[in-house]
Amino acid sequence: MKFVDEFRDPELIHKTAEEIQRLADPARHYRLMEVCGGHTHAIYRFGLKDILPSNIELIHGPGCPVCVLPMGRIDDGLSIAQNSNVIFTAFGDMMRVPGTHGSPLEHKARGMDVRIVYSPADAIKLAKANPEKHVMFFAIGFETTAPSTALVLQRAKKENLRNFSIFCNHVTIIPAIRAILDSPDMRIDGFIGPGHVSTVIGCRPYEWIAKNERKPIVVSGFEPLDLLQSIVMLLRQLRAGESRVENQYKRVVPWEGNIAALRAMSDVFELRPYFEWRGLGFISQSALRLSEEYAEWDSERLFAIPGIRVTDPKAAQCGEVLKGVLKPAQCKLFGNECTPEHPIGALMVSSEGSCAAYYNYEHRKAALLTSLGASA
């Protein structure tokens, strides 16, 4: 498969792994954060941890939009769809995320009109096909998915489509990275920068991380070779005592980002003064809402929203795990009260969440390998 197989070539991967081995100072422990949930997923899927030296620790960052969404927002969205005239639409990612009274899929099983769409444009199609209904799209995601929401809103406005609205939960990545860096217990040596987000925002917005915080950051692709090469680039910078923004994912990410997408976003969205992130708390100017000009397509303005706030249980240490202070298995709830089937904390919710990924792949593997050692 073109553009995939080249980046999974076993020989190149072994060579790059050897390069990492050579560059990593055995006397040093490296803590690298991959910001994006897609990277977390790829790292586990390709078993990359097994081929990295043990002194390189990968810390899973906040870039899983499903994980950082507070449960109250899901409750709010579902409360709109309690109205039998409303069709609730969302990406597949959202469908199993629990609200207080169950996930969208569970609401569907109880009779709510919940549909999976693959793009917000499909939600518009649905609205046109069902003129007597109101179609609400539950929008989530970072700058990766926000432009497609923006384009759909522009289209809805242009076509004066009246039975369609967006329940906007889009968040922005930079304030989340800032919140992690501002935390006093933060211990990270460098960042693997988010690839998809950067196709939209480009590489410039990360420059303060390199300049002010003196941390190297390499924007990376999602194939095994991309990730390993990014680690090589980070190690080279750390070895040379440098901190720069580098772009490993040049085949997709332009340094300046996607101007057309950014323009569409600034037409449609404005920054919220603050927004709650699961695990990180309230972060100012970290999320988007529809601007005044698009008020007629804003579910939050069209419907009465209860504004539900559900606090995560005190014992859940999601924030510490997100910041890399604790490993998933060090949280008190991990694996006993909090599991992928019954998630309590944010990071157990999506397969890209660090706790769920750790639970699915590492935790079971660790347990199995322990039993292997015991029986050998």
């Binding site: 498969m1 995939v4 999974r8 076993p10 991967i13 072994h14 792994a17 949930g37 997923h41 586990y44 899927r45 390709f46 078993g47 990359l48 941890k49 097994d50 081929i51 939009p65 499903v66 990406f91 597949g92 990612d93 469908m95 199993r96 899929l105 569970e106 569907k108 099983a109 109880r110 999976i116 693959y118 499909d122 989530i140 995601g141 970072f142 990766t144 998915t145 998809h196 095994p224 992928p340 089937e341 397969s351 890209e352 699915n360 792949y361 079971r364 593997k365 199995l368 390998l369 039993s371 292997l372 029986s375």
Partner: protein, 352 residues
């Protein structure tokens, strides 16, 4: 499922505590298993529990027979490479075949939605007749029910089949041993991805066809060349290869170790899975089977399969080891490993 003494306790142990049935309970993965083992088995089974296979083998008036049943609710009714009628025959024939039996007769039930065009129904009956002729099985009876418009999705078909055990075959997860080889009859994921694309919701197109077919000729052939070496078989339908092999790992208490680069997946299927964030190992098949065979006969069985039309791409994908006990481990081409779990719920595309 561990054997229990039936006389020890008469009260069934219901462990299924979920308040309502979700789509996931029908997806063939871990939720389906919880429902079946936690609610159906305790209330319906009598006598010692057996591993849940594809078909039951019982003795009737001194004769061994195999029996199984399956329902088909696929949407759309027709898709590239097949249709619901064809699936309804092949699915049941295959469940019998992988349990080590040749389908002899089927009975069928149609649940029809009022308003269904007769031409649509006729096309499916014809598809069943032709699939049955191809598989060498008779359809000897049936039942028809019609429900109000809006109460069913065009049509559902259920088929029940009885078969006679194939000589020299004994399929049993407990007979699986470390060192046994795992083989698959051909490329995986074709059916599930074909259906996903045929629904037309994805605006993706690929030159892809359902793999629905009768597996009986393949299984008859390998049972003739090395029947006693075949320990276990399964057709990995809903839940895919991952779910079938996890069930095997659990039933035999051994580890299933797969080599990722050995698993045959068509480029079209890989591409769709990459785009949608799905794993081909979780995608349904309707015309492939998995077999665990004794190492010394693996090559004989494989070359017999590869000589058959439609079996050319059969290959060995891994082996049984002592560890990791009860789990499926895959080694990536780069020397990394990951645990392959059962499907949790329906496979949902990941977008962000």
């Amino acid at each position: 499922v561990s054997p229990k003494d039936a006389s020890a306790s008469t009260a069934p142990k219901i462990r299924f505590r979920e308040p309502q049935i979700e789509m996931a309970h029908g997806a063939g993965g871990i939720a389906s298993r919880r429902l079946i083992e936690g609610l159906f088995v305790p209330l319906l089974s009598s006598g010692p529990l057996q591993p849940l296979g594809d078909a039951a083998h019982l003795r009737l008036n001194g004769n061994l027979i195999a029996i199984t049943t399956d329902s088909f609710v696929v949407k759309p009714l027709r898709f590239p490479g097949g249709s619901i009628g064809e699936l309804a025959v092949n699915g049941t024939v295959n469940d019998l075949a992988v349990s080590g039996a040749k389908a002899e007769a089927l009975v069928t039930t149609f649940v029809l939605e009022a308003g269904l065009a007769t031409s649509v129904l006729q096309a499916e009956i014809e598809a069943m007749a032709s699939a049955a002729a191809k598989a060498g099985v008779r359809i000897v009876g049936g039942d028809t029910k019609v429900v109000e418009h809006g109460k069913a999705d065009s049509m559902y078909i259920s088929t029940t089949g009885i078969g006679s055990p194939l000589a020299g075959l004994e399929i049993n997860a407990a007979s699986v041993r470390p060192g046994d080889k795992i083989l698959v009859s051909g490329p995986i994921g074709d059916h599930g991805i074909t259906i996903l694309l045929a629904r037309g919701e994805l605006d993706l197109e690929a030159d892809l066809f359902s793999d629905t077919r009768s597996l009986l000729p393949f299984i008859e052939t390998i049972s003739q060349v090395a029947g006693p070496s075949i320990r276990w078989m399964r057709d990995p339908t809903r839940g895919g290869v991952a779910t079938s092999l996890n069930e095997l790992a659990r039933d035999c208490g051994l580890g299933i170790v797969l080599r990722e680069d050995a698993i045959p997946v068509r480029n079209e299927v890989r591409g769709a899975c990459e785009l949608l964030g799905l794993d081909p190992l979780h995608i349904a098949n309707e015309g492939q089977f998995l077999a665990v065979v004794a190492a010394e006969s693996a090559d004989t069985i494989l070359s017999a399969l590869q000589k058959m039309t439609g079996g050319e791409q059969a290959c060995l994908i891994g082996e049984v080891q002592e560890q990791p006990a009860g789990a499926v481990l895959i080694t990536t081409q780069y020397g990394g490993t990951r645990i392959i779990d059962m499907l949790v719920g329906d496979p949902l595309p990941r977008i962000c």
